[in-house]
């Protein structure tokens, strides 16, 4: 399976993703699934600037993502799939059988959100979404960096 990580991170493409995970996992492709970014020239330009040589980055609208992930899943690239929201990843994991585990990497404070970890704040709806994903067989863990300990959804929300 060459979808190595599926990550939810509201900072999208940034150092923790590119350097922190890119190097130890030997990623060579980042797939960002986000309707707004896919439609915005200036955002795509900025995210490309954050990615070093050796890693390809592509921007997909949600509707086109499942078909593309099916192709990448059987391909040679080591891929990180990225969404900015729990809702986006929940939709994607239901629409694509390539997502078998979800990594919560950074979901920060916002209206209606409660702190679960220093880098994971969730609304009740987001927590319910993640629980239903896990009930459907997708493993959900929080882990900001490969060197930090993964925290299971169960222990996170208990």
């Amino acid at each position: 399976m060459s979808i190595v990580v599926a990550r939810v991170d509201d900072r999208l493409v940034h150092g923790q993703v590119v350097i922190g995970w890119g190097r130890p996992l030997e990623l060579n492709r980042i797939v960002l699934v986000d309707a707004e970014v896919a439609a915005s020239d200036f955002e795509r330009d900025l995210y490309r600037m954050a990615v070093p040589a050796g890693i390809e980055v592509e921007f997909l609208r949600p509707a086109e993502a499942p078909a593309r992930l099916a192709v990448l899943g059987g391909g040679p690239d080591r891929v990180l799939v990225l969404t900015g929201t729990v809702a986006g990843m929940t939709w994607l994991a239901r629409a694509s059988d390539q997502i078998r585990a979800v990594n919560l990497g950074g979901i920060h404070a916002g209206p209606g959100r409660r702190e679960y970890l220093r880098y994971v704040y969730l609304t009740p709806d987001e927590l319910a979404d993640l629980r239903s994903l896990e009930a459907g067989g997708v493993r959900v863990t929080a882990q900001d960096l490969p060197t930090s300990a993964p925290v299971s959804l169960e222990s996170l929300a208990s």
Binding site: D10, R11, L12, V13, H14, G15, V18, I19, E36, V37, S40, D41, F42, E43, D45, L46, Y47, M49, A50, P52, A53, G84, H108, A109, R118, Y119
Partner: protein
Amino acid sequence: MAVSRVTRSVLRLLLLQSSWTYERMQGVGIAFASLPLLEPLRGDPARHREAVGRSTEFFNAHPYLAGIAAGAAARAEVDGVAGATIQRLKTALAGPLGSLGDQLFWIGVVPGVMAAMLLAVGLGAGWPAAAVGLGLYLAVRIAVTAWGAALGYRSGLGVAAALKASRLDDQVRRVGLGAGLLVGLAVPIVGRWLAGGHPAELAALALGGAGGVWAALVRSRIPGARLLTLVAMAIIILWHWSTS
């Protein structure tokens, strides 16, 4: 009066991280630095209030380049860009400003200035070289912050294009290569200075220095800087050997 607004913002940017928290990281610092830039909105209290509130939101980038984001977001607010777009602009800026700033300073300006200081001391300039080096570092840091805030405030939503046009990534690479060259020159010169002319001690120091520099550079993100450091070191050592 745009110039003086930017200048006041730059002074505030020097305090960017003094209110750092996990919840918002540099958010409150960005807001503090944005207040002078948002002054044109004060005639419309509701809009001003909304813009200031938005400027406090979660943000994290390299502190010396964060002014680019503060300036661009403030310009977009003044231009009346939709709030959601401004939030997305800041999110998109955090990644490249973080990684470019890390490369420019932590593996560029910082080791470059340190190596220049050591080189000067090793060649007999004495300890005043250290004060000059610190002054030089501060000057670069403040100049980069001022340049960034002005570029951001000039560009607003066009900041991505302005950053590309500024060739900041090429400059970062050049500074990294320059730093590699200076470190490579400094290690054997400082080794000779420390060894006081004893060949055996010099050889040991050169080997130890080379190992230490290599270990420090293994994580370098500037392609070519590692090689350049080692080549400069080898040239100085060989040159010293052949003339002693």
